[in-house]
Assembly symmetry: C2
Homo-oligomer: 190 residues x 2
DNA sequence: CGCCGAGTTGAACTGAATCAAGAAACGTGG
DNA sequence: CCACGTTTCTTGATTCAGTTCAACTCGGCG
C-alpha cells in the first residue's frame, strides 16, 4: 500500500498504532481528478474523507451568487465537505481540483467499518472537527485584525512554491479582496 | 435539580435519554460572576464547559494588543475555551461576564466521569466541536461577503433585546469595525 | 465638584470596490 | 502550426466604506 505520506500524517495527529493503520489503510481508495474538475458540488452529499497526495484543491461556498474561497488543500492536507459527510446532508460548500489531482479517500460506509474495527475512528473524527475549528477561527481573526496585504504575505509564507500555480483570482477570493486589488498589492511588494 | 433549560438544550442537540441526563446533571455546578468579571483569562487553562443561564458573556482574543470579540453567549448558549479545555493547555481566548451572570458548568474531571458512566459524553464532545466550527465558518463567510452594516443588522435580528445591554464598543469589536463607525451606522438606520 | 469612560460628531485620509479598457496567456479547431 | 476567441491579469480613474485624529457631550462615581 502506497499511502505512506498519509500514515505519517495520521501518526502525527493521532499517534496511530500499526494495527490501527492497517485497518484504516485497507479501506483507502485512490481517486484522480483533472484540472477544474469538481471533487464535491454544492447541494450534493459528501461521501468521502480525502487527503491530497498530489495537486491543489480549493474549497469554496456561494453567497449572493459570489464564490468565497474558504481554504486551499495542498499535498498532505485534508479536503472534505465535513459537515455534509457527517450529517449525510447536502453540502453548502464545493471542492474543486485546481490542477490535476490525486487524493486518497475513505468512504462513509468504510469509515463506519473503521469505527467498529478499531478505536482510531473516533479519535480521527474528533480531531478533524477540532482542526477545522482552529483553522476557521484563525482565519476569522486574521480578517478582523490584519490587512489584506498581511493575509497575502502569510499565505505566501506558508506555501512559497505551491501558490504559484493558483490563479490570482482564487487567491484574491481567499484573501477577501478583488483580483484588481491583489494585482496592485503584488506590484507594490516586488 | 434546576437546570431544566439545559436539559432541553441537550435534548435538542443530542437526543439525550433521561438516564444519561441524570448522569450528566449530577455533575453540574452553578457558578456566578459579577459584571466585568473574567470567567476565563488568556494564558490560563479552561477547566469547565459552561452554559449561560442568566446574563451575557463575551469571548475574545488579543492580537497586536487589540481585543477581538469572537462571540457573545446569551442565556442557553455555550461558553468555553474549548481547545484549552480539551488539550489542557493555556487558553488563547478570554471570556468575560458583561452583566451579572449565572452559568451551569461541568469540570474537566467530572466530564471524564460522564464519558465513562454514559455514552453521551462522546456525543456531546463531538457536537460541541462541530457547533464551534459551524459558527466560526458562518462568521468568516459574513466577513468575506457582507458589509459591516449587514453584520450589525443580523446581530440585532438574532438578539433584538439582549443586545441592548451590551456596550457599543464590544458590538463594534464583534462586527469588526471601530466604535465610531458603528455609531454612524446606528444613526443612519434610525 | 471634578474626573473618567462611553458615545457622538466632524474632517481628512486611506484601502479597497467598481467601472472600464487594454495586454498577455491559453486552448481549441482549422 | 497558426489564428482565433476566451479567460486571466494589469492598469487607470472614480467612488465609497471605514479609519484615524480630535473635540465635545453625557452620565456615573469617587
Amino acid at each position: 500500500m502506497a499511502a505512506e505520506f498519509l500514515k505519517n500524517y495520521y501518526q502525527k495527529i493521532a499517534k496511530i498504532s500499526d494495527r490501527d493503520w492497517d485497518v484504516l489503510s485497507s479501506h483507502l481508495i485512490v481517486r484522480e481528478f483533472s484540472r477544474n474538475e469538481k471533487i464535491l458540488e454544492i447541494g450534493k452529499t459528501e461521501n468521502y474523507i480525502s487527503f491530497v497526495q498530489e495537486g491543489v484543491c480549493r474549497t469554496f461556498c456561494k453567497k449572493d451568487s459570489e464564490e468565497h474561497t474558504l481554504s486551499f488543500s495542498f499535498p498532505g492536507d485534508f479536503a472534505c465537505g465535513y459537515l455534509s459527510f457527517l450529517k449525510r446532508s447536502p453540502s453548502f460548500l464545493s471542492i474543486q481540483a485546481l490542477t490535476p489531482t490525486i487524493v486518497w479517500s475513505i468512504s462513509y460506509e468504510d469509515m463506519a467499518c473503521v469505527y467498529q474495527e478499531s478505536g482510531v475512528g473516533n479519535y480521527i473524527g474528533r480531531n478533524i472537527a477540532e482542526g477545522l475549528y482552529i483553522r476557521s477561527t484563525e482565519r476569522l481573526i486574521s480578517f478582523m485584525a490584519d490587512s489584506a496585504e498581511k493575509r497575502y504575505a502569510e499565505l505566501l509564507n506558508g506555501n512559497p512554491i505551491l501558490i504559484q500555480n493558483i490563479p490570482l483570482k482564487y487567491i484574491a477570493s481567499y484573501i477577501g479582496i478583488t483580483p484588481q486589488a491583489l494585482s496592485r498589492i503584488r506590484r507594490a511588494i516586488f
